[in-house]
Symmetry: C2
Subunit: 219 residues, 2 copies
DNA sequence: AATAAGATTTAGACTAGGCTAAATATTGTT
DNA sequence: AACAATATTTAGCCTAGTCTAAATCTTATT
């Protein structure tokens, strides 16, 4: 059984490994964990002693098989609790992340599996992120950032990269929700803003927005 | 916001105050918390600095108003989560306590209140203990220990004093569940065992059992 | 009223998880 | 190849919460 802090580090390393496959640097991890590089070095040594990560001084860190399994288990719990809060307790999608940050550390395999069953084995959390099953299997979907689509392309809004309250409230305000069809009407190269069609209306969105919205492109 | 450890101390003091109204002693608290007296002294000083308890050296400790409010809030959460686990996730009453010990420390007033609503504002947890409402109001019922009833008296089984898995499984095995009618057929003075009628059958139970079962006597 | 037993507090130490400042390694640029 | 900038680690310190052993207070018994 691992501590809350250890679990949070493993989760952060897991997420950063997408971007830094060859090893997650101390500074990258420090930024993600909102802590100092020296604290990261200390913790990474502890994780290494427990064989949760592979660590070579100055060379960054990578999850071991056990570390990866643990990280995925925490992510599974986080996302299941988010679904619970939204589906059963009337929370909106911008309110659930911080509470899930607490609930993801509750230790009981039976609780996790019963919760999963109670929720009907959901495949995605309220922000469109996939929920690993009890064996830790993810299904990865072919999603792209809206910012990377071409003029004229269209697709379905399937997820958000930034789960902050602020961003989610912006989306709510503009009636951008998961499942909606989106088409790129025009790209403005100067500021990289986009004119999109959604809800049968034209809407101009900035680069900041398009870089944080995942789209499953049509065809 | 208080730490997990502080919350557990407050809860323990709250429970012990029933028994030791004039002040909870360091040793009593140490036993309840399964820790050492010296650790209790340290923590009690911290709680006192935060005005959660009134503490006079060598004289024991009492909850302040704020301490009491906090303790009741934790107990409310503990019992609501126990109801959730039993009612919604198919847990049995002997499996929920340890998980509720974790869940009771999740910090979100909205979560607690939405959970309460979702469960239909339950009045008692799976062990018959009353659940405080959002304002911290308990309803106390006139329950007695089965051991304190007289020969010939009867009543309804309404709660357990010991919530351990072992005791609850003993009750399950003997089909003693909350809501059942119980009558004392005969008291054996030698070993203080009781012959009771329950489920239309006679059953002999030891003093250990009768001292841990709450009955609401008839009339 | 004195004293012994028991309860409680204090002193000093330890671990987990942080931080700052200083030292050292790596890397990019001349 | 040398040097400067940047990244990383180390050293030393801090707090929360725990422990053991020693000191001190309270209480029960003579
Ligand atoms: Mn989240
Ligand atoms: Mn977390
Ligand atoms: Mn309980
Ligand atoms: Mn607890």
């Amino acid at each position: 059984m691992f501590s809350l802090s250890e679990e949070n580090y493993l989760k952060a390393i897991f997420h950063l490994e997408r971007k830094y496959a060859g090893g997650v640097s101390t500074n990258a991890l420090a930024e993600e964990m909102e802590t100092k590089a020296s604290s990261v070095t200390d913790m990474v040594k502890k994780l290494s002693d427990k064989d949760l990560v592979k660590y070579r001084k100055y060379q960054g860190v990578q999850l071991s098989e056990q570390g990866k399994r643990t990280a995925i288990e925490v992510i599974r719990k986080h996302r299941l609790w988010e679904v619970f809060l939204v589906e059963k307790l009337n929370f909106s999608w911008d309110e659930v992340h911080d509470i899930a940050e607490q609930l993801e550390h509750i230790k009981s395999e039976k609780l996790t599996d019963e919760l999963d069953k109670f929720l009907g084995h959901p495949k995605r959390d309220p922000h469109g992120d996939p929920i690993p099953d009890a064996e830790g299997n993810f299904r990865i979907s072919n999603k792209m950032l809206l910012a990377d689509l071409e003029e004229g392309q269209s697709g379905i809004c399937v997820g958000v990269k930034d789960s902050s309250t602020e961003f989610l409230r912006y989306l709510d305000k503009n009636e951008i929700t998961l499942g909606k069809a989106i088409k790129i009407v025009q790209r403005e190269e100067y500021d990289e803003s986009l004119l999109i069609k959604i809800n049968d209306k034209d809407l101009r969105i900035s680069k900041t927005i398009s870089k944080n919205l995942f789209i499953k492109p049509n065809d």
